[in-house]
């Protein structure tokens, strides 16, 4: 039902924009960051994450308004909501959910078609350090934090670096509880 909902929202309740415009805009941001930070790719990764975080804390509002999803009971449900609904609605793709930890508090998303990295070839010096799509990690971190899930999100592998697939890992650290102000 999450899959059907995701497809329905994508088809009927989502305004769309040309994917090439999106890809080229993101590409120009990343390449400009590389120039601005004088090819210090750790700083670029950090800045992309920060940008993504700022997007994520806002994007979750739009997501919940469109889907009206209730709170997920566990991380398994959360992973399905992320892959079948969120990625579908915003990026028109459905990553695969795999590699659940034994405690079911961590999982991986295998991203096959990433519109952010279409037609990208990393320069040699960037291959070792730059996580090109690191903005996605920030988006997920920010969005999950707004629904009281404090998570670590990071890339394990990336096809742009020559790996077999692009894998993103999400690990729940703790469930945040609203605290009464002093």
């Amino acid at each position: 039902s999450l899959k059907i909902m995701g497809e329905d929202v994508w088809k009927n309740r989502t305004e769309k924009v040309n994917a090439e415009l999106f890809t080229l805009t993101y590409g120009s941001i990343v390449s400009q960051l590389c120039i601005d930070y004088q090819r210090d790719f750790q700083k670029v990764n950090k800045q992309l994450f920060s940008m993504g975080y700022n997007i994520g804390v806002r994007l979750i509002e739009d997501f919940l308004a469109k889907t009206a999803l209730p709170r997920c009971e566990n991380m398994v449900k959360t992973s399905e909501a992320i892959s079948k609904c969120a990625f579908k609605i915003f990026l028109n793709m459905t990553p695969q959910v795999t590699n659940f930890s034994p405690e079911k508090d961590a999982f991986s998303l295998i991203i096959d078609e990433n519109p952010l990295s279409d037609f990208v070839e990393l320069p040699m010096d960037a291959m070792k350090q730059l996580w090109y799509s690191n903005i996605l990690c920030g988006v997920l971190k920010g969005a999950l934090q707004m629904v009281q899930l404090e998570c670590d999100v990071w890339f394990i592998s990336d096809v742009l670096k020559g790996d077999a697939h692009t894998e993103l890992r999400i690990k729940l650290n703790k469930v945040l509880k609203d605290e009464i102000p002093i």
């Binding site: 090439e20 890809t23 080229l24 590409g27 120009s28 990343v30 390449s31 590389c34 279409d118 037609f119 990208v120 070839e121 990393l122 320069p123 960037a126």
Partner: protein, 174 residues
């Protein structure tokens, strides 16, 4: 043999390659241009740029009213073909039996090729095959442009690009 180059906005070579003929039936080795011609190729190509730019900026007076924009002539006039949206200019120049063909991308990059002939006779150019070659290289060039880390007008140093261009040359030119 052919000498192919992609020329940038300042007539700078963005990509260069020489395509040699295939092995002959008598087991001849691959033959390229003779050494003295190899050194001359960039100069021959450079000499044809004036003609190419003349064609590039000449308005096509053969365009009918209403078929293209407001009826003004469009750019990219070909000497041989009257199609207004044609990037392929055909044979634009010659140099002592060598033929020079050209193709213009929409952003003004020039694809130019010198066609040699080992028999030292005047070279015949198969327009359809050459046009197909140029069009496929154009697609490869667009993919290169889509890479945000590639700066326009910079040399294309990708080995993958070179391999694909050479395989297109084998497919269409030899």
């Amino acid at each position: 043999p052919q000498y192919f180059a992609i020329l940038g906005k300042s007539d700078n070579p963005v990509y260069e390659a020489e395509f040699t003929t295939q092995q002959g039936q008598q087991g001849q080795l691959q033959k390229g241009f003779p050494q003295h011609l190899k050194e001359l190729n960039p100069f021959i190509m450079h000499a044809s740029l004036d003609i190419i730019e003349d064609l590039q900026w000449k308005l096509n007076s053969n365009v009918q009213h209403g078929t293209n924009n407001s009826g003004f002539g469009s750019f990219l006039r070909s000497k041989n073909v009257n199609v207004t949206d044609n990037c392929y200019l055909g044979k634009v120049d010659h140099f002592y039996g060598l033929a020079i063909t050209a193709y213009l991308t929409f952003s003004g990059m020039k694809f130019v090729m010198i066609h040699g002939n080992l028999d030292k006779n005047s070279t015949q150019v198969d327009d359809n095959a050459v046009k197909s070659f140029y069009q496929e290289v154009h697609e490869l060039y667009i993919k290169t442009l889509m890479n945000p880390f590639y700066k326009i007008n910079d040399p294309i140093t990708s080995a993958a690009f070179d391999t694909r261009v050479r395989s297109l040359a084998r497919k269409y030119l030899n």
